[in-house]
Symmetry: C2
Subunit: 201 residues, 2 copies
């Protein structure tokens, strides 16, 4: 599986940068962690960080060992329009999690559950890397976007946890297509339909 | 918080029984783990296990450090009828998780995520202690009950994880009543309404 970074570089230097990045992102969050400070902590020049990993977002994905950058995937799926967006989102999400990349993602979720710093990083990544793009692609009303996208996250995270981590049966072995049709309307409602608790959208 | 067991008993003996129980339930599952074998592994008489902990289910809850036995709660909530069952279930679930007992439950879920043996125990507990009771209370068609209750579990587990473990905002601080109204219809649909992927119910 392709790594997120650009150049393999010196493995020790790479690891030192990733370790410094993990610490910085966990301590200060994505926005406040700077490439300059991460480079200083790793004892390298900031240019080398960019050379190895590209943008701050790409460095963040590499530090979290995220096997796939979900932002562009989400943008593509939702870019096809509001109708059926929920079902397309679940179908795409399941195809990633059922693939070899999914195994790496399961490890990531498990770490985030067990470790507060990792949970903070995952929270920031989900919010910035996925949910804000969902809100933007679907042009959700700002007052509703937060709760709507959080509700979508609750259903998707729950599906991943019961299917891939707790492995409840029958859902762990139910074909993805059956789940997409069963869960799609839930996500569609959270995204675009009036919710009892929100002003009709 | 009250323990699930009946008598406090000798703390060392109690702990030895709980440790043997955890190992037995994780290795052999709830059905195949016997009080007799657990007692033997702990070097005590089976009668003492019953004396300290009551039934095998109560021993299981104590071994998993589950602060509340959800089975009777679920039965009571669903016993009030199919109409609005989804919203009542979410409202009750949130009131438990938002209470002090919820903090213990969060620790339990985190352990289950990080550890395969614990994940197996949690899977068994959720299936036996909760989902089968849901299916029975609502008299779900046997061919559909598995997937329907698993879908409910996916939404509830996801809500717990994003609200209490990853702590996404705004959902982590959204009033429970707002969430009950927003998520209730999802659970209602999974429980009692026709799902695209299932024969109309």
């Amino acid at each position: 599986m392709a790594r997120t970074g650009r150049r393999p570089g010196n493995p020790d230097t790479r690891e030192a940068i990733l370790a410094a990045a993990r610490e910085a992102f966990a301590e200060r969050g994505f926005d406040n962690a700077s490439i300059r400070a991460i480079a200083a902590a790793a004892g390298v020049d900031p240019a080398l960080v960019h050379h190895y990993f590209g943008t701050k977002e790409q460095l963040f994905l590499a530090a979290m060992k995220v096997p796939i950058n979900p932002g562009p995937v989400v943008a593509r799926v939702l870019g096809e329009g509001r109708d059926g967006a929920g079902e397309r989102l679940i179908r795409t999400m399941l195809s990633v999690w059922d693939s070899p990349a999914g195994a790496a993602a399961v490890a990531l979720v498990r770490s985030a559950m067990a470790n507060d710093a990792f949970a903070r990083m995952l929270r920031e990544f989900v919010t910035r890397g996925i949910l804000r793009r969902v809100a933007k692609e679907l042009q959700l009303a700002p007052a509703e976007a937060g709760l709507r996208t959080n509700l979508v996250a609750s259903q998707i995270v729950g599906l991943i946890v019961v299917r891939h981590i707790i492995r409840l049966e029958p859902i762990a072995s139910t074909p993805a297509e059956v789940l997409a049709r069963a869960v799609g309307p839930t996500v569609q409602r959270y995204l675009t339909e009036p919710l009892d608790s929100l002003p009709a959208g």
